[in-house]
């Protein structure tokens, strides 16, 4: 989230799209209801289903799954053409005025540089037109044909209301009504917040859907505003934290990236990562990349990391692919090129698409280690659970270890919520039986490995032998010790303008203290400040909100630097006065920035200095033009889901290459696992229910009671055609398999008119499996397609094709 849960109450318009906030985050949703209550905000729900959010929405529309870019692209065009955007904001705070390099074009659904064989783009031309000093050229009038604003305008001019109706299946009148409502937040004293979740993420064009939302917010001047922002509600309790700490194939901590195989030289790697400003006197905070990197390597390898050995740069594994995500790993497993896997609290059999393929992959492993509090499906993939998991154990040669872990109630530590708050929690009781904390298990494994490498030697033992391990109980690193390690320490006295600001051994105050010379150690730079000399900032409990704007700086700690609303400089006009006096967040006092939040900005930089608010980006501006950051192109374009209920992309009916996302990742092995709409006529989407959490709560009696059995949602019209009555059993098939479930026949799903055809949508909750206390069921992911988004490789759980038959 760019903003925070409580901040939602400051919005005038709440757009719930690509998510079902009431269903998935009921307590966070309280602040939507507060917005309605306090400031008479309107809630708009746009979803394939009339869902729990819609139940309390003021306006709603059915939309075909996977077509959000069309709706939002049309909105962008509508806002520009009807001149209903925040012009002052766009000029001052965005890249609208930047000129784009000659040669960049968009033609019949593809941007310049597409390589059909590799399904990749050569992004050379996707960049700004730079002047001699390497600064981007701008046309402040926004009139230049090559300026981002005009390119964007041209790009989305194709998204007419007629086109949106054809693609989304939303009647024009409804589209125009919603656009008009959304456009109201262009006024400086009106803000709109966008609440989205996996309903945008889990598409082959997921990342671009989210970008389109962000572009709308930039146009309307809602980024950085209280009650504004683009808010990823996020799924799991600490998924924000795991991502911050970089538990992804290509990441180090704090969103630093691991080197690619090509980056054979440390300097080159740093050069590439260090981002110099694209406009004069901008912050471009990534220019300090080396400070973050070196401090992290010092945290990892301590004294072994020296300037001479490039801080152990070459000890880091290097990538030959953009990502080695789970889909990639599973695909390798099925090819038999993998030996083992460690699943730490991750039920991949249930959670990943095409269960049959995941099952096949796991069956080809030599060993599988499960660390989990619960006896989940993945741990028992080898066990025959009748029709729900029909395998022959004698044919599966995988050795499976199941290690019992503690759960949240039995462990200390911090987790990061989607508002980026690091909140500390306290162990209440010991874990059951012989269960241990994850830390103890990881330590147990690592120390034994280390011992073996000391005794026997082995492949490249240096990193293992030199990994820092300064924990008072080496067998059980304490949460407090680890927190202090990622917060960072001074390894020598740190000076700033000649005076010592940190003594050797002291905890760092924030990442401003970091040095690139090895005199600081910091495990995760963005978390620097979480545990300082003042103590554990994550355990603070002051919930006071002195400015009554929903900012509680004394509660826990938020990264970066305890800022609660990112880009909050943009909540004030260029001259430093708030856009909306009733929504003042920070403002220029005359000598510094003051207000309710910690300024996300150089504290003493006067407005005249024209330092732009988005200090992480190279030009300090919000970006309509994504340059080479995303795979599909600088401007989001609508592409059909890999399994689409219509025969072509109405925007480019003639170009088969532009039917689906041209850079979506599909493994050769899976090409024939995709169905067509002739065979599987109905558009399906999967989702969570409020009564359940993924596959955990099927083990929780209380939740099993209030939502006991697997069901699928079918519209009354379709049910009528198929002769299905509510409560009857149905079988849902996709090209990859079938599930059986009870039919919930509802008015809340309606057939949509899409490009001249009637499209029925089927809703399939993901919950219920073959373990636990709820009714046993097939795993929903038996049905879903094995395809990755063009940037994040997120599976397309939200749009695929199925057929439905009555049992």
């Amino acid at each position: 989230m760019t903003n925070s849960w409580v901040d939602i109450r400051n919005a005038n318009i709440v757009l719930s799209m690509g998510g079902n906030s009431a269903e998935a985050h009921p307590v966070g949703f309280r602040w939507v209801m507060q917005a309605k209550e306090r400031s008479d905000a309107i809630l708009i729900s746009i979803d394939p289903r009339y869902n729990r959010t819609t139940a309390v929405a003021d306006y709603h529309a059915w939309i075909r799954t996977g077509t959000d870019i069309a709706f939002l692209g049309g909105l962008i065009s509508y806002l520009i053409e009807s001149d209903r955007y925040n012009r002052e904001y766009v000029e001052a705070y965005t890249d609208a005025a930047h000129l784009v390099r000659e040669g960049f074009e968009f033609h019949d659904g593809l941007f310049t540089g597409y390589d059909e064989a590799r399904h990749q783009y050569d992004k050379a031309t996707w960049n700004f037109d730079l002047d001699e000093q390497g600064f981007a050229r701008r046309d402040e009038t926004l009139q230049h044909p090559r300026c981002v604003f005009q390119l964007m305008r041209r790009h989305y001019s194709r998204y007419s209301v007629e086109m949106v109706e054809r693609i989304c299946g939303m009647p024009q009148a409804k589209v125009l009504q919603l656009w008009d409502l959304l456009a109201q937040s262009a006024a400086p004293d009106k803000t709109m917040t966008i609440l989205y979740a996996l309903g945008w993420t889990q598409h082959s064009v997921g990342a671009q859907m989210i970008r389109t939302g962000a572009m709308v917010q930039l146009l309307l001047g809602n980024m950085g505003m209280p009650g504004g922002g683009v808010n990823a509600l996020r799924g799991h309790s600490n998924i924000q934290g795991l991502t911050d700490i970089g538990l992804l194939s290509n990441l180090l901590t704090g969103y630093m990236t691991l080197p690619a195989a090509g980056a054979q030289d440390y300097r080159g790697y740093i050069q590439e990562k260090v981002r110099q400003p694209l406009l004069p006197n901008q912050v471009s905070y990534w220019k300090y990349y080396e400070r973050f990197f070196v401090s992290t390597m010092k945290a990892f390898y301590g004294d072994a990391a020296t300037v001479e050995n490039d801080w152990c740069y070459h000890w880091l594994p290097k990538l030959s692919e953009p990502l080695y995500d789970v889909l990639y790993a599973v695909n390798d497993m099925t090819k038999g090129t993998m030996t083992g896997a460690i699943c730490q609290g991750f039920n991949i059999l249930a959670a990943f698409p095409n269960k049959a393929k995941v099952l096949d992959g796991l069956s080809k492993l030599r060993y599988l280690v499960i660390m989990d509090p619960l006896a989940n499906e993945t741990g028992e993939f080898w066990k025959n659970h009748g029709e729900f998991n029909d395998v022959d154990p004698s044919q599966i040669q995988t050795t499976v270890f199941r290690l019992p872990t503690s759960c949240f109630a039995e462990d200390d530590g911090s987790i990061t919520n989607s508002s980026r708050w690091l909140q500390w929690h306290h162990r209440a009781v010991p874990p059951p039986g012989e269960a241990k904390t994850d830390n103890a298990i990881l330590a147990g494994l690592f120390q034994r490995l280390q011992k073996l490498y000391q005794e026997e030697g082995g492949a490249f033992p240096e990193p293992i032998l030199n990994l820092t391990w300064e924990y008072s109980d080496p067998a059980h690193p304490a949460a407090a010790e680890l927190a202090q390690e990622y917060n960072g320490r001074a390894l020598a006295d740190i000076e700033d303008q000649g005076r010592i600001i940190r003594r050797k051994g002291e905890l760092l105050n924030d990442f401003g203290d970091l040095r690139a010379d090895g005199s600081t150690s910091c495990g995760c730079w963005i978390y620097s400040g979480a545990w300082t000399e003042q103590g554990n900032m994550m355990d603070r409990r002051d919930n006071s909100d002195p400015y009554d704007i929903g900012v509680t700086l004394g509660w826990a700690w938020a990264w970066p630097l305890n800022r609660r609303i990112l880009y909050n400089r943009a909540s004030a006009r260029p001259d430093g006065t708030p856009w909306d006096p009733n929504r003042a967040l920070i403002w220029w006092s005359g000598e510094r920035w003051v207000g309710a939040d910690v300024p996300d900005y150089p504290i003493a930089a006067a407005p005249e200095e024209d330092i732009k608010p988005f200090i992480l980006s190279e030009s300090g501006t919000g970006h309509f033009f994504a340059s080479e950051w995303l795979g599909e192109g600088p401007f989001p374009e609508h592409y059909e889901p890999l399994e689409s209920p219509i025969p072509n992309n109405p925007l480019h009916p003639q170009n088969p290459l532009a039917y689906h996302n041209p850079v979506a990742r599909v493994f050769a092995e899976d090409r024939d696992t995709f169905g067509t709409f002739e065979e599987f006529p109905y558009a399906a989407t999967t989702y969570r229910l409020t009564e359940h959490f993924h596959y955990w709560t099927t083990h929780v009696l209380l939740n099993a009671i209030v939502q006991p059995e697997k069901f699928v949602e079918i519209g009354e019209v379709l049910a009528g055609e198929l002769g299905i009555a509510a409560g009857e059993k149905v079988r849902v098939r996709s090209k990859r398999g079938h599930i059986d479930a009870v039919a919930v026949v509802t008015k809340r799903l309606r057939p949509l008119q899409v490009d001249g055809r009637t499209v029925h949508q089927v809703g399939i909750p993901i919950h219920w499996g073959f373990t636990g206390v709820a009714k046993k069921a097939h795993l929903t992911n038996t049905l879903t397609p094995f395809v990755g988004d063009g940037n994040t490789q997120t599976p397309e759980f939200k749009s695929f094709l199925v057929n439905v038959e009555k049992l």
Binding site: R52, A55, I705, V706, V742, V744
Partner: protein, 312 residues
């Protein structure tokens, strides 16, 4: 602190008790009320789970009946359930009306009126109507008495159960479990006065948003309730999964537990008295003297012999 309210002095009504309970100290006691704002409810069932968790109830793991209702109805182990109904309004727009169904804690409780076991059902001065399972005899009269079809008789122990409005929490100055858990603030708790004020405010807001018939559901037929609803369509409560439009204690029950009780008892008493006094005034019908006539006597003896012979 509300805890002071619940003692014998503050039980203002007990089932099957003619004598009034001590009332004198109920004067200053707050009338507590739970308000359920249906227009804010997302049907997440947090209240349902919190209720089971707090009250140490675990219902059966049932089945999906083709709706979101689970469990489908109140049970001895489900003091409340959410009832979902898909309603198409006059404009043809779809509304998903979700109602939390539980005991309404009537000011004039039909269950209490019908209950034959003294103290099995009590009404506190704060308005809570509570079942005391210790005294419940499992006759099920409360089921017949309740205008809202709330009480359920357990097959395990043949006792009646229903929502207590968490009288144990309220006793200790806490809000009911469902109220505390409610994520969206659809369930509120306070004095009846506060809740009616808040309800009126909410109704105003709803009218601003075009719900002209929004209103508070606090049915007078049962003397008002200590659980009140805010409805978008207060003119049609029945569309909320059959919320009764004008609930009141059934006339049959009124008759049965009303006038008939004392009347019949009195008549029975009077009839006995009448007998007694008749006996005193008119005296008995004495055994008549035997007839001295010898033939007659002989005939009788003969008759007796006959009888004797015939006796097996």
């Amino acid at each position: 602190m509300r805890g002071d309210q619940i003692n014998l002095q503050n039980i203002i009504a007990r089932s099957a008790t003619n004598e009034p309970s001590p009332q004198i100290r109920s004067g200053g006691v707050e009338q507590v009320t739970k308000l359920i704002d249906v227009s804010v409810c997302i049907g997440c069932k947090a209240c349902q789970v919190a209720c089971m968790e707090w009250n140490d109830l675990r219902d059966e793991v049932g089945e999906c009946d083709g709706t979101y209702n689970a469990p489908q109805d109140l049970t001895p182990s489900s003091f409340e359930v959410m009832r979902f109904s898909e309603y198409e309004n006059e404009e043809g727009d779809l509304e998903w009306l979700i109602r939390k169904d539980n005991c309404m804690h009537c000011a004039e409780p039909g269950c209490l009126k019908a209950c034959p076991s003294p103290g099995a059902i009590v009404q506190y001065a704060n308005g809570i109507v509570d079942f005391n399972s210790e005294h419940c005899i499992g006759c099920g009269y409360c089921v017949a008495g309740c205008p809202f079809d709330i009480p359920r008789i357990s097959k395990k122990d043949n006792k009646a159960y229903k929502c207590t409005l968490c009288s144990d929490r309220v006793y200790h100055g806490l809000e009911p479990a469902c109220v505390k858990s409610c994520p969206t603030g659809s369930i509120q708790f306070g004095t009846k006065e506060q809740m009616l004020d808040y309800g009126a405010h909410r109704v105003g807001k709803l009218k601003e948003r075009g719900f002209d018939n929004a209103g508070i559901y606090d049915p007078a037929g049962v003397g008002g309730t200590h659980v009140v609803y805010v409805l978008q369509h207060a003119d049609k409560p029945e569309i909320y999964s059959g919320l009764p439009k004008d609930p009141h204690i059934s006339p049959t029950v009124e008759l049965w537990k009303g006038v008939t009780k004392p009347l019949m008892s009195a008549v029975l008493g009077v009839s006995v008295l009448a007998g007694f006094f008749h006996y005193m005034t008119k005296g008995p019908k004495e055994e008549p003297e035997d007839d001295p006539d010898p033939d007659q006597a002989a005939a009788e003896r003969e008759q007796d012999r006959h009888d004797e012979e015939r006796r097996p």
